[in-house]
């Protein structure tokens, strides 16, 4: 008994000492020097299956693989939206006029983390395996339906033929925004698995990036990466010198716990954190910083935007007057202030308004937006939206020094949005026979009650949840009887995918356009992705239910054009304007991503005024962060 007591006491003391050491910043609790370890909150929290590290099946994608471990033929510079070769030796050579055959060269001298050279044998094996086991592997469909054939030319050259003309090969076999849908695997490891490759866990993996997995928690809370000694021979060893010797991805738990841990300098970069928590953390630790020093504090450069998706195939939403009435009844300024403390960037077109997409889509369409008329000549666009928002925020007591001025207002809060005009909305509804009944709510043309079912996420996405409730309030005030139904992630996807279940939903699925290449996302607007209004069969895309023939034609035409063809870009601009002018998606705002950082141990993170990369730790652009940050010397 005495021995047991002594053992427990020793263990407890050991634990206390370790914690004390950790609190002092000397060592992390995974045994690495804190000053050499970059610690990152995992994007999606704990991984439920941490040992699933085979990229041919689902794998632990959020904890460093695509950022630190894998290598791509072509990467994306997320500051400019331009592709650049990573493992490829230049861009693909086009071999035929149909633009379906390509020759690709890879850089010699790239080594896997176990020292074996990466060659076209790995590429051919990866493709062979994907095609051979396409019915059993769950993460290979993107390539098996894209490629028609492929062959090795030599150890550093291979050729592929695509099923359809392909002008976006570098983003389909490389990176468009945050990673690639298909990863190369090491032949010398996977081939030995034989048919069992379909169940191979691949943990810990042999990787291509400068970092390799040192240890991971079988319970899924953390994964530790260590810089390879031969990192210069890795897939992106030519990008620069990775500064941290170790990178720890860890889930610090609920937001309350994370905020406290952040104040205690236990980690360096967060993901999404509510403005309230950030304010509390900043007040207690001056090293905690948001993305921007002025309002709105968030990073707004995500590839997607938030919007209300309308099932236009169902009455009464098949009438543009109804959709416009819903848009004009939204007081977006008030919604953004109540749901997000005013920290948002309005986006009227069905895509985000970023430094990359702004000039291509927003500036090109600005005059058209200003001149747009609906109904009997009403002009719905409010180009002064952002200026008015700044005035409202000032009136509500926000320190003017924290608010942007001049041109910064447009870059901060957007180019404008739709007017808040419930009277015009009532007029539009009246024109199609929809009038308010005795209870004060609008009724359908036949006089029956009109209850809108509006699906919003439960607390698995707090920002959308808050926005959803605020939108429902705004509609109710305008006379719409709205049932805001919050659902779990699984049901959310089912509602998104099933016509018969969907009426209105807050969503981001069809607004992910990152640069002039709109094809990746809007290519879903095709006849084959349209099902009947009452269908219970799942959709395979086009969750916005775009049935407008004009849009479908523009997409089909664009799919056969080179990405740098002016007509291709023009088609994208026209699609955006057509969706907006018919109000097929009530687009709301860029996705606000807070990305607070703590500069106690590391500094020079990407910020608004130092924008060398998108600041997300869960995009492969994190590579840029890793080579650009600097240690502060804090021990």
């Amino acid at each position: 008994m005495t021995r047991l007591g002594r053992f427990l006491l020793t263990s407890a003391m050991g634990g206390l000492m370790t914690t004390a050491a950790f609190a002092q910043g000397a060592m992390t609790d995974v045994g690495t020097p804190r000053s050499e370890t970059l610690i990152v909150q995992t994007f999606d929290g704990r991984s439920a299956n941490p040992s699933a590290q085979n990229p041919l099946n689902s794998y632990a994608i959020w904890r460093g693989f695509r950022e630190l471990g894998w290598g791509y033929l072509w990467e994306m510079d997320t500051a400019t939206g331009k592709s650049y070769p990573e493992m490829a030796d230049g861009f693909p050579e086009v071999l035929n006029d149909a633009h379906t055959q390509f020759r690709i060269k890879i850089r010699p001298g790239i080594l896997w983390s176990d020292g074996v050279e990466f060659t076209t044998d790995d590429i051919i094996y990866s493709l062979d395996t994907a095609f051979k086991y396409r019915e059993q592997l769950t993460n290979v469909a993107s390539v098996t339906v894209y490629l028609k054939s492929y062959k090795k030319i030599d150890d550093y050259t291979f050729e592929v033929e695509t099923v359809n003309p392909s002008y976006d090969l570098t983003t389909r076999l490389g990176v468009y925004t945050w990673g690639t849908p298909f990863n190369w695997v090491p032949k010398h490891i996977f081939e030995a698995q034989g048919d069992q490759v379909v169940r191979f866990q691949n943990a810990p993996p042999v990787t291509l990036g400068p970092y390799k997995v040192k240890e991971f928690d079988p319970n899924g809370f953390w994964q530790l990466w260590e810089l390879r000694e031969d990192w210069q021979k890795s897939s992106w060893g030519n990008l620069g010198t990775p500064k941290p010797k170790f990178i720890l991805y860890k889930d610090f738990g609920a937001e309350e716990t994370r905020a406290l841990a952040f104040v205690q300098n236990q980690y360096d970069v967060d993901t999404f954190m509510s403005p309230d928590s950030i304010d509390a953390a900043k007040a207690r630790n001056p090293k905690v910083e948001t993305f921007s020093a002025t309002f709105p504090y968030h990073d707004m450069n995500d590839a997607c935007s938030y919007g209300v998706y309308i099932n236009q195939q169902r009455a009464p939403y098949d009438m543009p007057e109804v959709r416009w009435a819903l848009a004009l009844s939204l007081d977006l300024s008030q919604i953004g202030i109540s749901a997000m403390s005013g920290q948002f960037k309005a986006a009227a077109l069905p895509l985000p308004d970023t430094p990359i997409t702004g000039p291509i889509f927003y500036e090109a369409n600005l005059q058209a937006l200003k001149g747009l008329t609906i109904g009997d000549g009403y002009k719905p666009f409010d180009a002064e939206f952002s200026t008015q928002l700044v005035e409202t925020l000032k009136a509500q007591g926000i320190d003017p020094s924290l608010l942007p001025t001049g041109d910064a207002i447009r870059s901060g809060f957007g180019a404008g949005w739709w007017k808040h005009d419930p009277a015009e909305a009532e007029k539009l509804l009246g024109s199609v026979g929809i009038k308010k009944s005795a209870d004060g709510f609008y009724a359908l043309p036949d006089g029956s009650p009109w209850v809108i079912e509006f699906v919003i996420p439960g607390d698995w996405n707090k920002v959308l949840q808050r926005l959803g409730f605020s939108i429902a309030d705004s509609w109710r005030q305008a006379g719409f009887n709205v049932n805001a139904r919050q659902v779990d992630n699984g049901e959310y996807t089912t509602v998104q995918n099933t016509n018969s279940r969907n009426e209105l939903q807050i969503n981001w699925s069809n607004t992910c356009v990152y640069n002039s290449n709109w094809l990746g996302n809007w290519n879903q607007f095709r006849e084959s992705n349209i099902k009947p209004a009452d269908s219970t069969d799942p959709l395979s895309g086009n969750y916005a239910r775009i049935t407008d023939q004009q849009v479908l034609d523009l997409v089909a035409e664009g799919a056969a054009l080179p990405l740098d063809d002016p007509k291709f870009v023009q088609n994208g601009q026209e699609i955006a304007m057509r969706i907006a002018s018919e109000m097929q998606i009530i687009n709301l705002m860029n996705i606000p991503t807070t990305i607070p950082t703590n500069s106690t141990y590391w500094t020079n993170f990407p910020k608004q005024n130092n924008f060398y990369a998108a600041p997300y730790t869960w995009w492969s652009s994190f590579k840029q962060t890793v080579v650009n940050i600097e240690p502060t010397g804090q021990q």
């Binding site: 053992f7 427990l8 020793t10 263990s11 407890a12 050991g14 634990g15 206390l16 914690t19 950790f22 609190a23 609790d29 995974v30 704990r46 439920a48 299956n49 699933a52 099946n57 689902s58 396409r134 019915e135 769950t138 469909a141 993107s142 098996t144 339906v145 894209y146 389909r172 468009y176 945050w178 849908p181 169940r199 991971f216 928690d217 319970n219 809370f221 889930d251 610090f252 738990g253 309350e256 716990t257 406290l260 104040v263 205690q264 236990q266 779990d488 992630n489 699984g490 049901e491 996807t493 089912t494 998104q496 995918n497 099933t498 996302n521 290519n523 879903q524 799942p538 395979s540 895309g541």
Partner: protein, 333 residues
């Protein structure tokens, strides 16, 4: 009723409960407005930046339905499900984390949940009953009221508030424990085992405090009622000591309902795991179930809920079989 008949009846009831439980477990996820195949495709599509074509998704859908065992009508799936569970306790692969077997996921998580929740439930029960006994037996004394006050104070505090308060107090203001524990990996050594114990202390203490209050109050009420029983008065008149009356006359009799409560709460530890595991970043079955429910992962839900049903039903069976040994009145009947 003979012993054999008594035992057979209880075991028959036990098996019936399991059968009904398994059937409901099979049906419930299918009544949920979630399609796991769609959910997975949604994830893949999201990772692929929406670049998966309709053909790719259609191909993926066919493959996934085959792999997940979702082909065929519901009855065929039900028969196959029962066969697999009864004959080999096989819940198949996780949908969300294919091809990971569900049994492996549950086996990895279960020791953590059981270790923390069983220990803390038993400690809370023991402490609560001891304090409740003293508070009840000496309920006319002011000092005893203080003990009862502890129960009254703790019992109504919502678990979430209590847990966050404990975190704030003992991990932030007085950083005795880690805010977000990191459990050691690799082969277990005495030092690593010590770290596991140490990292489990804060959630453990919180669970004890949360369960403690109810045990104090219920035991106190039972003790007060029992002290007024004629046999206790008779013992007092016979001149027995306070200690003897409290332990041999009051405690033993007041304990019977508490034993039932303990057995049931042991069977219900799965249900208590979720909040603890979320707040304290503690690994266990609760987080596995939460992920499964979110993603419509039928197989993981089957596995976790089935084990929960078996645990609760088995606890009920054990109580039924043990009660005659503890309570002579039931034995007599």
């Amino acid at each position: 009723m003979g012993v054999v008949s008594f035992v057979a009846k209880r075991i028959g009831l036990y098996l019936a409960v399991l059968f009904i439980g398994l059937t409901i477990t099979f049906m419930l996820p299918r009544l949920m407005p979630i399609n796991p195949v769609d959910g997975y495709i949604g994830q893949i599509q999201s990772r692929a930046n929406g670049t998966l074509t309709a053909e790719a998704i259609a191909e993926l859908r066919v493959n996934l339905e085959q792999l997940y065992g979702l082909k065929g009508d519901v009855f065929t799936q039900y028969v196959s499900y029962l066969k697999r569970i009864v004959l080999s306790f096989d819940f198949g692969p996780s949908f969300t984390y294919y091809p990971q077997p569900v049994s492996a996921m549950i086996l990895n998580a279960l020791p953590w949940t059981l270790g923390l929740l069983l220990t803390s439930t038993v400690i809370a029960w023991l402490l609560g009953n001891l304090v409740g006994l003293v508070a009840g037996y000496f309920h006319k004394q002011k000092a005893a009221s203080l003990l009862e006050f502890v129960g009254i104070l703790l019992y109504p505090i919502p678990y979430y508030i209590l847990a966050v308060t404990m975190l704030l107090l003992l991990a932030y203001i007085f950083p005795v424990f880690p805010l977000s524990a990191t459990f050691p990996v690799g082969q277990m050594t005495p030092e690593k085992f010590g770290m596991v114990i140490y990292n489990s202390l804060l959630p453990g203490i919180t669970l004890v405090l949360a369960g403690f209050g109810w045990n104090i109050l219920s035991m106190k009420a039972l003790t007060v009622a029992t002290t007024e029983e004629p046999y206790v008065t008779y013992a007092r008149l016979k001149g027995t000591s306070n200690w003897t009356r409290m332990t041999r006359y009051v405690f033993r009799n007041a304990l019977l309902p508490q034993v039932t409560a303990l057995a049931l709460s042991l069977g219900m530890v799965f249900n208590g795991a979720l909040l603890t595991e979320m707040i304290f970043s503690y690994p266990g079955i609760g987080l596995v179930m939460r992920t499964a429910a979110n993603g419509g992962d039928y197989n993981v839900l089957y596995g976790a809920i089935t084990i929960s049903i078996i645990a609760v039903a088995t606890a009920g069976l054990v109580i039924d079989l043990l009660y005659p040994l503890l309570d002579p009145r039931i034995r007599h009947k």
